[in-house]
Structures are given as C-alpha cells and as structure tokens.
C-alpha cells in the first residue's frame, strides 16, 4: 500500500465509512497535541509569573484529600441522579396526571434556578427544618436533584425517539408495559441517550465544586485553601484542572465504548 502525502491527512467522503489506519490516526493525534502544546507554551512564555511549585507541592495531601472527596460525591451523585432522572422521565409519561405535574414542576424549577441557590436552600432551609446535619448527605442529594432534572429530559428525549410503530408492535405481540420498556424502548433509546448523558455526567462532576459553599471540603475547596495559604494561583489551578479531567475522561470514554456496543443499523 502506497500512502500519498495527502492520504496521511485527508480521507475522501467515500472512504469515511472505513476505519482509518492506526499510523495515520496516531500521526494526526500527535499533531493535535502538538498544536495544543504550542498554544500553551506560547501563552505561558508570555506570562510574567513566579512559579512556586515547591511550596504548593508541600500541600499535596490537601489535593489528594479533596480529589478523593470529589470522587466519592461524584460516584454517589451519578448513580442517584440517574435513578432520579429515570423515575422523573417515567413519571412524566405516567397515566397519573399529578405525577406528570410534579415531574414537570420539578424539572422546570431546577433547570431554571442556579445550583448555588439550590444548594444553600437545601442545606440552610430544608435540611435545617428536618434536622439533617450531614453536609455530605445534603450536598450529594442537592447535586443529584439538580443533575437528575437535566438527565430526566435526556431520558425523555430518548424514550420519545422510539417510534409509535415500535410500541404498537410490542403491544401486538403481547408484551406488558414494563417488558416494552425493558426489551423494546430502552435498547433503542440508549443510542440517543448516551452522548447527551456523557455530557451531563461531566457537568455533574464539575458542578460538585459548588458544594464548597456549604463547606464540604471537596477538590475545589481544598485547592482554594492551598491557593490562599501559599499566595499562588496557577500552581493550584493546573492540578485542579488535571484532577477533574481524570474524573471526567473515563466517563466520556466509557459512554463512547457503550455507544459503539449498542449501535445498530437503521
């Protein structure tokens, strides 16, 4: 196989269904990283800034502790928000009109108001009234409720993307409502849901930083502490960014892998 210079960088439209050879893929990925590095290198080279990595490095246990807390919050909120999203999406389609109204109200209120306000309200008003003092519990719940509202809309979109003829077919062969969701709707909806869901999950992880307002000592809170103690900014923010990326990237990759597995021709 003779590769022309052009074929290292360009695939014509009729070739786009075929997989790209790995050396070509590698080259282009390296090129992308190189361009990114170039921009970063140039920007930082223009910056007049006294790097102080040594001092910040002394506080590395702050970062670890915060990152670990954020990981715990994220995993719990991810699971909880998925459950909330699913229940809300199903309630929206329920025969009971009050369930529909409740889910609609919930989604609109949560989507339309700032997370910051919701977290404060949840902790200082609701949790206080019910005498719940566990910040972590309240924080995870508030975050899950926030994210669940968005996720429910993603689920609803996916469910509604399954055509009426599919539901009719399921009815005709005698599947129950539950079985119809299990064997017909979800396996088809998942394709539509996954890409949007990956974005929602990444947002959730980053939104967990707002839990610092109720003094949950998560990743961002810790980074800010170190920043204040050492009078350094970027030395704290760069590890912070990388730490979040380590959490979000596996989710994106995982959903992409799932997407490939659940895909089918139409």
């Amino acid at each position: 196989m003779i590769l022309t210079l052009r074929s290292w960088f360009w695939i014509s439209p009729d070739e786009r269904r075929r997989p790209v050879p790995w050396p070509v893929l590698l080259l282009n990925w390296l090129l992308a990283f190189f361009l990114l590095a170039l921009v970063c290198f140039y920007s930082f080279s223009r910056l007049r800034y006294n790097w102080n990595w040594g001092t910040v490095g002394g506080y590395s246990n702050f970062f670890w502790r915060g990152w670990w807390t954020t990981l715990k919050i994220s995993v719990l909120a991810l699971l909880l928000s998925t459950v909330i999203g699913l229940i809300t999406a199903l309630a929206r389609r329920s025969g009971f009109l009050v369930l529909r109204a409740v889910s609609r109200l919930y989604v609109e209120l949560v989507r339309g108001t700032p997370l910051l306000v919701q977290i404060s309200f949840a902790f200082y008003v609701v949790a206080d009234a019910f005498r719940i003092q566990d910040r972590f519990l309240v924080g995870v719940s508030a975050l899950s409720l926030f994210s669940g509202a968005f996720i429910s809309e993603v689920f609803r979109g996916g469910i509604e993307s399954v055509g009426a003829s599919q539901l009719e077919s399921a009815r005709a062969i005698g599947l129950t409502r539950f079985q119809t969701y299990q064997y017909v709707i979800f396996p088809q909806a998942i394709r539509v849901i996954l890409p949007a869901l990956a974005g929602m999950f990444a947002n959730l992880i980053k939104d967990s930083s707002l839990l610092s307002v109720i003094s949950i000592e998560e990743f961002t809170w810790n980074a800010q502490q170190v920043s204040a103690l050492t009078y350094s900014n970027f030395e704290c923010y760069i590890p912070l960014a990388i730490g979040y990326l380590i959490l979000t990237l596996p989710i994106t990759l995982w959903t992409q892998w799932l997407e490939k597995r659940t895909t089918y021709e139409t």
Binding site: S165, Q166, E168, S169, R171, A172, I173, G174, L175, T176, Q179, Y183, V184, P187, Q188, T262, Y264, E265, T266
Partner: protein, 243 residues
C-alpha cells in the same frame, strides 16, 4: 372461524370511522377487507387485533367475546398474530431475536426451544441464511416474511394482516403473497386488509367492502368482485381495476 361483530362504532377526534359495523360469519377461513382508503377497514382489523377499543358494540371470535379492558386485551393480543404494513420489526434485534422475544418473554418458552421454533419457521420461509441479520440488512420482502414468521410463531388462533404488501415492490409482493397463500392452504384462519383484488379473489372465501365506515357488501368473491350489487362497489372496483 366464526366471527361476529355487532354494531361496532369507533371515532377518532370527532370523526366517525366505523358506523354500526355488523358482521356475522361462520365457517370462514379467509376474510378479506377491501375498500377505499379511510373507509374503516384497517380500524376494523385493529379492533379485531385488540389494538383499538371500539366506542360501542361488541366483537366475538369463535364464540369468545373480546373484552375491551386492558388486562383482557393483553391476553387477547397474545392469541392473535398481527402483521403490519410497515413490518414493524424491532431494529435492534436480529431476525431470530425478533421471533424469540415474544416466545420467551410472553409465552415462556425456554431459550433453546424458542430458537428452534424461530429457525424452523425461517427455514420454511427460505430465510435460514438471514436469521442472524438485523432488519436493516434485509430486503422489504424478507422483512415482511420475518414479521409473518413472528406472527405465526406463537401459534395464533387468528392471523391478521394490515395491508401486508402495500410497502413492497411487485416482486417482493409476490413472495409475501405466496407465504400468505401457503398459510391459508395450511388451514389457518386469516383476516386481511388488502388492495390486491386478484389475490383477494384467489384466497378469500369472504370479502367485505367497507366504505365510509360501513360494510357496503359482504359475500363470496364471485359475488362481491364479479357481480357487485351496489353502486359504491362497482365504482370502487372500476377505479382500482383501471390501473
């Protein structure tokens, strides 16, 4: 089969689609419903399939009254096989899985047995080589034959076809009609909505013409198609046979 419909009425959004439809058929193997579009034939078929609930009136099959309540309808649907115009196969499942889904999850066959049933029907329909393929990789005629295989796999007491060849080109229409004729020869009870007059003439022993929500004429094909008594029937046939 014995089929009795008494004063069936059905309307959609203020529009009366069936107006007091009554039928009384005994010892019929194949009933063909014909008539102009919007005449109500598909709605009547869907009421038979338990997919639509009539506003009033009743329907009984083989002296068994169809109860139009969700729970009973679910049971009813499990005993009839319905084939749709647009095939309505499940795109995420293979041909075999399309058939085994109902066998396993509704009729509780063990997986291996369901698979055997599916494969033997596909073999009969000349689709052995396509069992592992999803619907997207099958031709229209093959899809419809898989849909028919799905419908008969559960050993239905009645097979319902809603314009099974309307979405197919002539060559594929032939392969699907052959399968339907074969089923009739096997002695299965069929009801089909069709625009294929020649086919209706050949396979049906009763033809009912529905127009404007009413049964205009009902009788053996020699009578309805060759010697129509009503003006509406004559007009309809003249129009459809012209092209």
């Amino acid at each position: 089969m014995k089929l009795r419909a008494t004063s069936l009425c059905k309307s959609f959004a203020q529009q009366l689609v069936l107006k007091n439809v009554s039928l009384d058929l005994e010892n019929v193997r194949t009933l063909a419903l014909i008539g102009p579009s919007g005449g109500g034939k598909s709605t009547l078929l869907r009421i038979m399939a338990g997919l639509e609930i009539p506003d009033s009136g009743s329907l009984s099959m083989n002296d068994c009254e169809v109860v139009y309540r969700e729970k009973e309808l679910l049971e009813h649907r499990r005993t009839v096989g319905t084939v749709f115009q647009a095939f309505n196969l499940f795109p995420h499942l293979t041909a075999v899985q399309n058939i085994t889904l109902a066998l396993e999850k509704v009729h509780r066959y063990p997986a291996a047995q369901a698979r055997d049933i599916a494969e033997s029907i596909l073999e009969r329909f000349g689709l052995s080589a396509h069992g592992h393929k999803p619907p997207a990789q099958l031709s229209g005629g093959q899809r419809q034959r898989v849909a028919i295989a799905r419908a008969i796999s559960i050993k239905p007491k009645l097979l319902l076809f809603d314009e099974p060849t309307s979405a197919l080109d002539p060559e594929m229409t032939a392969e699907v009609l052959e399968v339907i004729e074969e089923l009739r020869e096997e002695g299965r009870d069929l009801v089909l909505v069709t625009h294929q007059m020649g086919f209706a003439h050949r396979v049906a022993d009763r033809i009912a013409l529905l127009a404007d929500g009413q049964i205009v004429e009902c009788g053996p094909p020699e009578q309805v198609l060759d010697d129509p008594q009503k003006e509406i029937t004559r007009q309809f046939l003249a129009k459809i046979l012209k092209y």
